[in-house]
Symmetry: C3
Subunit: 207 residues, 3 copies
C-alpha cells in the first residue's frame, strides 16, 4: 500500500495547489484557500470511496491528507504572486494531479477486487471529479468541458494502460507508473501541442 | 426485479441521450460525450443508492449500465446533427427519462421497505438529480429552475400515484406504470400546453 | 441526543428558509420552493452522514426533517413579499443556520468518537455545504466565495471552540452553545461591521 498512499498524497498535494490557485483568482482569504484546496484535493477520492462503499473514506481514516491540502493552500497564498500566469499554472498542476490521481483511483479499485470496467471508471472518477468540483464551485469553465482538449480521454487511456500492463504479468508498480505516464503524456500533449480528437462541432456537414 | 431493471435501463439510456445532446451543445469530443452522458444517466440513481446506503451502487453491481450510456453517447455523436432543434430534443428526452427514472427510484425504495415519505423522496431524487448534475456541470439553466414549468411537481405526483395505486391492492407493475404515465403526462402537458402552477412572482399583490 | 436533534431541527428549518428565499428570487412554484429548501436544509448533514458512513442518513431515519423544510418553504412562499430585502434576509438566515449547523455537525462526529481533526471538518462540512449546494444549483455566487467576508473561518472557529471548551471539562451543552455563539458572532460581525481577514488580492506587493 506504500506506493498507493504515495500516489494519494501526491494527488492531494498537487490538486490542492491547483485549487488554491483558483481560490487566488477568486481573491479569497487563507481559510477560503484551504477550503477550496481541500475540496479539490479530496473530492475525487471521496466520491470514489463513497461509490465503492469503502468502510472509511481515505481522509477520514487519515486526516493528514487534509493537513497536506492546507499546507499546499498556505504555500500558494504566499507565493502565487510570483507566478507569471496563474491560469497556465492551474492547467499544468491539474495535469500533474490528474496523472497521479488516476493511478491512485485504479489502485484502490484493483485492491478491492473490482472488475476491469469499474477499475477504469474509478480511475476516471478519482482523476476528474476533484477538479470538476473546484471549477463548478468557483464558476470556472470545467476543464472537462474545454473544447478541443483531451481530458477524460487521458484518464481513460491511463486507466486502460494499467490493466494492459497487468495482463502482461508485469508488477503493479510498473502498471501504475505506466498509467501516470500515459495520462500525463496525453494531457501535456494536448495542452502543449494541441493534440485533440474530432469534436462534435467539426463532425456534421451541416449544423 | 425484471420490471425494475427494465426501468433502470430505460432511464439510463434516455438520460444518456439527453446528456450527450448537452455535450453536443458544448462541442465536446466522443469521450466528453460519454462522460456527460454517463453522469446524467447514473447520477440520480447513484445518489439514491448512496443515500439509502445500498450495499452496492446499481452500476457498480452491473457496469453494463455505463456501457449502455456510452452506446447512447456514441449514437448521439453521429446522429445529433440530424435533429432540427437539439434543445427541444433535450427537453423531451429529459421528460421521457424523468418518467422512467421516478418509478425506478420508487421501486428501489419500496423493495427496501422504506416508509412512504422516503419512497416519494427517492422517486424525486432518482428522477431529478441526474439532469440537475448534467445542467450544473455544463452550465445550462437546470430544468428544475425553469420558471412556469412543472418539473419537481411531476416527479412528486408520479411517486404519489404509485403509493395510491398500491394501497388499492393493484399489483406493483400497474403502480409503476401509473407512476410513469402520470409523471410524463404532467411534464409533457407543461412543455406542450404550458401547464403550470402559480409561481412566486405571480403570487404577492405587490413585489 | 435531545440537544443534538434540536440543533438539527433548527438548522434544517433556518437553512430551508434561506433556500426558499433563493427559490423566490428564481421565481419558482411551491414545489420548486420545497425542492430548493430541502436541498439547502439537509445537504450539509447528508454529506456529513455519507462521509462518516453512518448507518442511516439523518432524514431517512426521520423524514420529519423534510416535512419541516417543506413547512419553511410553504411559509416563505406566502410571506417573502413582506420582506424589504430578500437578499439581506438570505444572508442573515444563512448566518443563523450556519451557527446551528456547525455544532450539529460537531456533535454527530463527537458522538461517533471521531478524532479532533474530523470533528472540526464535519462541523465545517455540515455548516457550509447545504448553502453551497443551494447557491451552485441556483447559480448564485456561493457565500463561501464572497470576497472580504468571513464564512469558512466562522465555522472553523466555532468547531474549534467546541473542542477547547470540552477539554476544560465543561459539559457538552456548554461546548455546543459556545460553538454556535462563536460561529454566529464572527459571521454577524463580518456582515455587519465588515470583519475580514486579508484576502489574496491585498497580499502580494504586486499582482
Amino acid at each position: 500500500m506504500t506506493l498507493l498512499s504515495l500516489l494519494d498524497y501526491a494527488s492531494v498535494f498537487v490538486f490542492a495547489l491547483s485549487g488554491a490557485l483558483v481560490a487566488s483568482r477568486a481573491q479569497l482569504d487563507i481559510f477560503g484557500f484551504i477550503f477550496i484546496a481541500s475540496l479539490t484535493a479530496v473530492g475525487g477520492g471521496t466520491l470514489r470511496d463513497i461509490i465503492l462503499n469503502r468502510d472509511t473514506v481515505f481522509w477520514v481514516a487519515n486526516p493528514g491528507y487534509i493537513g497536506l491540502a492546507a499546507l499546499a493552500a498556505f504555500l500558494t497564498f504566499f507565493t502565487a504572486h510570483l507566478l507569471e500566469s496563474r491560469y497556465r499554472a492551474i492547467l499544468w498542476l491539474d495535469a500533474c494531479a490528474l496523472a497521479v490521481a488516476v493511478p491512485a483511483g485504479v489502485a484502490v479499485a484493483l485492491a478491492m477486487g473490482q472488475p476491469p470496467a469499474i477499475v477504469i471508471i474509478m480511475g476516471i472518477v478519482t482523476g476528474c471529479f476533484g477538479g470538476l468540483m473546484r471549477d463548478v464551485v468557483c464558476n470556472e469553465v470545467p476543464l472537462v468541458l474545454r473544447q478541443g482538449e483531451l481530458y477524460v480521454t487521458c484518464a481513460l487511456a491511463g486507466a486502460s494502460v494499467t490493466l494492459l500492463v497487468l495482463y502482461t504479468g508485469l508488477p503493479m508498480s510498473v502498471a501504475l507508473l505506466g498509467c501516470a505516464a500515459t495520462t500525463f503524456a496525453l494531457r501535456a500533449g494536448s495542452l502543449r501541442f494541441g493534440w485533440r480528437l474530432p469534436v462534435y462541432k467539426a463532425f456534421p456537414p451541416r449544423q
